[in-house]
């Protein structure tokens, strides 16, 4: 069995209560960190672990922590990003509802490391029931002396606040999240200044994903080096993968980074293979934003090497033949899926979720959606396909925040790998619009 850091006890009955969580080694990391370590030592362990941001960007968490400005007399904040909204990703939702104390323990340890006395967990508003689970868990932890004033008699104070969002994907972008937390529209900020210098309430702030923070208790208990020993190269530790789409066993799986894509997709321990009677057509490996891959580039890289579930291996070949691990939203498409329809669907998502602040994203996402809608519904022309590529290029890299890139990549990659299918929609509009009809002639299917 693969090493489990986050989900080892997740199915233990009652693990969402303090008692049961404590019985399974819960909150020992808080005791260890607060009583025997300095904040600098905790940061050092995080650095040693090599754990990278699990929200999608993959930036080393310890390094992010070390950028935090520490001016005298100014409060510092830790904000947990639980705004999980990337299509294909539902791991944080699962983790928080099943084992809320893990995140809370991680928040205490991390807040201590950063010298924060008030920390926030920003949860997407739709997950109100998870917010209530977290709030109850926080109450329990407070009763037991793990939160509040003078925690465990160490003199360290921490207050945890769970903040609901209001329905906006863009608030997963860290500066938009901070704006939202300040009670404003979720418009991302121009950077610099980065949150580490001027974040929440213009104070130095670290924003980390739920899964990243949830790794901290294990790292404190076992050491950063032990964490770094798991995985391959710079992809250390384990990763939660949200598996969805046409597979036999959708769900959230914890993998050791370095498992092959083939094993993850086909073994019974994980996805269990493509659903019965069907075969693989395409894969989105890291949430809807990352480039889609055709079947022949999924389990092998362009060089014929096994593709692994790591940051590096998935991006092998760049955007020409690779993709990204992103947030670990693993969406599998079998041969019954229409790539054009799916691209339109994703495009509609980004159109709907654009904050509207900067012109390329505000106008470009809508334009792409409309053109894709036309193509999907049999009213497209050949030059629409090139137009889409051109629009995506004019958005990519030119926006305030990464939503522009996230909207551009799925469109550009779908056309890169499935151009024939787009063309078929133009040349065979009647067949293409027949319900359930899917282009079957793609070379990518071989």
């Amino acid at each position: 069995m693969a090493k489990k850091i986050l989900t080892e006890y997740i199915n233990v009955p009652g693990i969402d209560t303090f008692e049961v969580y404590r019985k399974h080694g819960g909150y020992t990391a808080v005791e260890k960190a607060l009583k025997t370590m300095t904040p600098e030592e905790v940061v050092e362990e995080a650095k040693k672990s090599g754990v990278r941001g699990r929200g999608g960007a993959g930036f080393p968490m310890g390094m992010k922590w070390s950028f935090l400005a520490k001016p005298e007399g100014v409060p510092r904040y830790l904000v947990c990003n639980a705004d999980e909204s990337e299509p294909g990703t539902f791991k944080d939702h699962y983790l928080m509802k099943m084992i809320p104390h893990l995140l809370i323990e991680g928040m205490i340890v991390s807040s201590f490391a950063l010298g924060a006395n008030k920390s926030f967990i920003y949860v997407r508003g739709e997950l109100m029931y998870v917010i209530r689970i977290l709030e109850r868990a926080i109450e329990e932890a407070k009763e037991k002396g793990f939160l509040g004033k003078n925690i465990l008699g160490t003199g360290y104070d921490l207050e945890l606040v769970v903040q609901p969002g209001g329905g906006a994907y863009i608030c997963g972008e860290e500066t938009a999240l901070l704006e939202s937390l300040e009670g404003k529209r979720g418009n991302p900020r121009n950077k610099p200044p980065f949150p580490a210098i001027k974040g929440l309430y213009q104070s130095p702030t670290v924003v980390n994903n739920v899964e990243s923070i949830s790794n901290m208790p294990w790292i404190i208990n076992n050491g950063g080096d032990a964490y770094a020993a798991i995985g391959v190269g710079r992809s250390t530790g384990t990763k939660l993968i949200s598996a969805s789409g046409h597979i036999r066993k959708p769900g959230v799986y914890e993998i050791e980074l370095g498992v092959s894509v083939d094993e993850f997709l086909n073994s019974d321990e994980y996805c269990g293979g493509v659903r019965d009677g069907h075969y693989l057509k395409a894969l989105v490996a890291g949430g809807s934003s990352v480039p889609i891959l055709p079947a022949h580039l999924i389990t092998k890289t362009a060089n014929g090497e096994d593709r692994l579930m790591t940051y590096e291996s998935l991006s092998d070949g760049g955007f020409a033949t690779g993709t990204m691990l992103g947030s670990g939203g693993f969406i599998v498409f079998d041969e019954t899926s229409c790539i054009v329809r799916n691209t339109w669907n994703f495009s509609r998502f980004y159109h709907h979720e654009s904050c509207g602040q900067c012109s390329p994203c505000r106008e470009g996402t809508g334009w792409m959606e409309k053109v894709l809608h036309r193509l999907e519904h049999g009213h497209g022309s050949m030059h629409d396909i090139d137009l889409l590529v051109d629009i995506s290029k004019k958005i990519e890299g030119n926006t305030i925040c990464p939503l522009g890139d996230a909207a551009a990549w799925p469109v550009a990659s779908a056309i890169r790998h499935f151009r024939e299918e787009f063309e078929w929609h133009v040349t065979h509009p009647q067949e293409a619009t027949r319900p359930g009809a899917v282009y079957m002639g793609s070379a990518a299917l071989v």
């Binding site: 809508g366 137009l387 305030i400």
Partner: protein, 371 residues
């Protein structure tokens, strides 16, 4: 005097070296180059949302993106992405490419296109025409045809009261008017509602924007989204003559520009600098209530940029003085512009004209495509 000279940063912008104070943005440095030598005006990145007098503006429209090919003397690496010049501060030894970089020009062309796809192109009935930054931006950086075949976005109408006319379809969401209301009025009642391409300037509930300085949102608007209701359809800007004037005003500085048509003051605005930015914000009384020459002390004709459409009339044959060849040329080429058309004030008619014009624009672009 004591010497407290700060260390200056030396930067290279499109091959021109300039020394600026730390904290200066790339845009400000470029403007400094142009101010020193007006022949460099065209090097300055266009600003559609940035507005120096208003804190916090900029970074949104992406019109002013430039390429930083060297971050600083210390760190000579290029910046990976194009950066908004209006909010990016210079570093010593920074090298910036604007008009000399093809990627910048391509991105800028993209921004023009994005700003225009949902724009009604109703310039023929728009009061802003002739002094519209979007017109200038499109003319200088855009393509001659559109690739947009979809339906253009429309909004429900909102009435902002007796002074300010809102045409949301023309808005490019620069947020300048929001910053204006925040920074120079005491209680903001309008803002940006909704999001994405449905975002709109609105008061949400029907309510007039009503305070002593509300009229300034008209001056800061780069397009015809917010215009002066008291000047509505009165004239075209190129037929009018701007004159600087002042009055003793208890509320504001009283320094304004009067816009004459013949002997009649048809509009009052704040004075603007060469970048189209208001120098001093003026009050609504000066702007909307004082339309008689007798209300004002006239200072003289407003200095108009040569590029401005207002200066077009100086080519009128009957106004050209010397030399002789110019007189002859003007005589043969330029006719005095007369505006004897009746004023359209009927809302439905205007709307209809706007729609027709939009259709024509789409039609024209299709023809262009075919040719």
């Amino acid at each position: 005097m004591e010497e407290t000279k700060p260390t200056l940063f030396k930067i290279t912008f499109d091959g021109i070296e300039v020394e600026v104070e730390p904290g200066t943005t790339i845009m400000q440095a470029a403007r400094k180059i142009a101010e020193a030598d007006r022949s460099n005006d065209a090097l300055v990145p266009p600003a559609m949302c940035y507005y120096e007098p208003l804190k916090g503006t900029g970074g949104k429209c992406r019109a002013c993106l430039v390429k930083v090919t060297q971050g600083s003397a210390k760190d000579t690496r290029p910046m990976p992405k194009l950066v908004p010049s209006c909010i990016t501060q210079v570093q010593d030894g920074m090298v910036v490419e604007n008009t000399t970089n093809p990627a910048v020009l391509e991105a800028r062309k993209g921004v023009v296109e994005f700003l225009l796809i949902n724009h009604p192109l109703d310039c023929p009935v728009c009061d802003q025409a002739g002094e519209c930054h979007l017109q200038d931006f499109a003319y200088e950086h855009g393509a001659a045809k559109t690739r947009y075949e979809e339906e253009r976005r429309t909004f429900d109408r909102h009435d902002l009261g007796p002074y300010i006319q809102l045409h949301m379809t023309r808005c490019i969401l620069c947020y300048r008017c929001v910053f204006t209301a925040d920074q120079i009025t005491n209680k903001r009642v309008h803002g940006v509602m909704h999001r994405g391409d449905a975002a709109e300037i609105s008061t949400y509930i029907e309510k007039a924007i009503d305070n002593d300085f509300s009229g300034n949102v008209i001056d800061v608007c780069p397009v015809g989204a917010l215009t002066d209701k008291t000047y509505r359809f009165k004239n075209r800007v190129w037929f009018t003559k701007p004159v600087d004037a002042h009055r003793d005003c208890p509320t504001c500085s009283g320094n304004v520009t009067l816009w004459y048509r013949g002997e009649e003051v048809i509009r009052v605005t704040a004075r603007k600098n060469e970048w189209g930015e208001v120098k001093e914000f003026i009050c609504n009384t000066c702007r909307f209530e004082k339309k008689n020459t007798s209300d004002w002390t006239i200072e003289g004709p407003t200095k108009v940029l040569r590029s401005s459409v207002i200066s077009a009339n100086k080519y009128r044959a009957d106004l050209v003085k010397k030399p002789d060849f110019a007189l002859k040329l003007a005589d043969s080429q330029y006719k005095p512009i007369e505006d004897s058309r009746e004023f359209v004030t009927d809302q439905d008619k205007i709307r209809q004209l706007s729609i027709e014009n939009n259709d024509k624009a789409n039609h024209r672009s299709q023809l262009a495509e075919k040719n």
